[in-house]
Amino acid sequence: MGRSQSLENVDVYTVVAAASSAVVLVGGTAIILACGLAGAAAILEIDIRTAMRRRADSPLVERERDVAAALGIQWRRWLVLRTGTVAGAVALGLLTGIWAVTVLLAVLAIFGLRFALSGRAARQRLRVERAFIGQLRHLRDRMAVGNQSLDTALQEIGLNPGKDLVYILSPLARGGSILANIVECGVRSRSPIIEQACGVLIWARTRSLDALIAVIDDVLIPVGEAQLAVQEEAHVTLAQQRAVTFAMASLMGFMFAAVIRVDSFRAFYQTTEGLLVLLAASTVFFLLVAALGRIVSVPQWTRWNVPRMAELEVASHE
């Protein structure tokens, strides 16, 4: 009885010793790794909290939001569309039976959809910006010729903004604070030209009506038209780039579809060598598309923080 109890004790001690050595090993390794990572973060001055906060408004997400806004699609619907496209591409890839094609189609769905729709988004944004400059002319005429106040003129424009500006200018129709409505228009537009024009209206609206009319006549409309001319030229360049990329992708897709219809070729692409060839061809293709993007680049614009502008404008009166 006493011996069996001592054996049990020995087993318990052995188990505890083994468990504690495993805990020491795993825990020690984790501590060493954590210290190493913390040291590396300290050396590289990486603020993890700031990095996590920045992730919420990363440039990638902002670009996605810009495309969705330009196409007039709500953010949630855009996310559903993106997810659905990737799922469809993966399903199609699984049907081919070649796993590398599945991966390739998934990559194409992730990057290709935005690329495919970005031309349409740019065209739509250009149309909206052109319409906005037109509405600025109407605003000027309403104040200068119709003798309307800024509030009334903006509200009437908000009630009848035209087909392209319904979503962006609808806040003006609801009345209330002009400043808040202009800020809302700027935020909704996600267009650098409209954001800048909204910023100018925010700063110029508190002066006399004549001064505001002069600002629209002398500054907003001439500079806005110059900006539109640059945008139109960029749009032509972008269309050229996209046409060439589509032609290249179609040719590649057509040739690959033709090749895998032949049994012997299909069998080759299911081997390791075939997968390597497919990987190499895809890499060269993507590198060429990237090179095309570098050759035909479009000018970038400064993005404005319209709510911050409004805050500073209000603060300047206090």
Partner: protein, 299 residues
């Protein structure tokens, strides 16, 4: 004998570094010259050009090399608060960590496979690459910040015209205020948070002089143009007109650049299209070649 040569070379190198350090610290310079240099530095006078700078003015490739290795300038341009020594320390730390990781991996592979698949030179090469990558990354960040700052300056001219004319703000106040309203913080870091003090000595200069100095030191010609425009405003041209004209000129320039680039792209775009033959040939040729070689081996 070979050991003696190595020790002699090492001793010579240490002695040279020691002497260079003494020269750099001004041990051999007379007190008067050192005092004069100190006063010149405090008053913000331009320091005399070094021999390297004089040589760089003659040779463009040396100037490019000097600019790419000028850590102080690149750190200032990229908006990093690090000192050159601090940056070097971090880069060396990253490089040594890469070397340690490389050596550890090589030892692990040796332990598992029982043979040396990669020599220690591989780890050393990776460490040197890590050091170069840090430098290239800094250069890329500096260039990107320079381009973004210049673009922001161009795009804020229209609001500047309104703020200086309708709201009666001074140019420097308008620019600082607007730099806070941009989503990109490069211009805000430079002007509003006074990042310019890193390369431009603080003096009692006017806004125009200050903007010209910053424009020259940070490679921002647009800032110099804004200073010139303010000169025009001082002699009686309305501020709204001055800055609106400058904004229009900027956008005309952008339009001309866009048109020139589009024309250039029409020719350059044929290169990637022609290169598309390569993946097409790979897709078609590889299975065909495989089938032929299999057939030959089978026959």
């Amino acid at each position: 004998m070979s050991d003696l040569l190595v020790y002699s070379a090492a001793a010579l190198a240490v002695l040279t570094i020691w002497m260079l350090g003494l020269v750099r610290l001004g041990v051999f310079t007379s007190d008067d010259v050192r005092a004069f240099r100190r006063i010149a530095q405090l008053r913000g006078f331009a320091p005399p050009r070094s021999r390297l700078e004089k040589a760089a003015r003659q040779l463009p490739w040396l100037r490019t090399l000097q600019e790419n290795l000028d850590l102080e300038r690149m750190l200032a341009l990229s908006g990093r608060g690090w000192s050159p020594l601090g940056f070097l320390g971090r880069s060396v730390a990253v490089s040594l960590a890469t070397l340690a990781a490389g050596l550890g991996t090589i030892a692990l592979v040796h332990e598992v496979r029982g043979e040396w698949t990669v020599t220690y030179w591989g780890a050393l090469l990776a460490a040197v690459c890590a050091l170069l990558a840090m430098l290239v990354q800094l250069r890329s960040r500096a260039r990107s910040a320079q381009v973004r700052t210049s673009r922001t300056l161009e795009d804020l001219l229209m609001p500047v015209a309104i703020l200086t004319d309708s709201r009666g703000l001074q140019l420097q106040d308008a620019v600082r205020l607007l730099s806070r309203c941009v989503t990109d913080s490069a211009l805000e870091n430079l002007l509003d948070r006074q990042g310019w003090k890193r390369l431009v000595p603080e003096t009692e200069a006017s806004t125009q002089e200050l903007y010209r100095s910053i424009g020259s030191a940070y490679g921002l010609p647009r800032l110099t143009q804004i200073a010139d425009a303010q000169d025009a405003a001082y002699v009686g041209v309305p501020e709204r007109e001055v800055y609106t004209r400058l904004a229009e000129a900027v956008y005309r320039e952008r339009l001309a650049e866009a048109r020139a680039q589009a024309a250039r792209a029409k020719v350059l775009v044929t290169l990637p299209v022609a290169a598309m033959l390569l993946p097409l040939l790979l897709l078609l040729g590889a299975p065909a070649l495989h089938a032929i070689t299999s057939g030959l081996q089978g026959g």
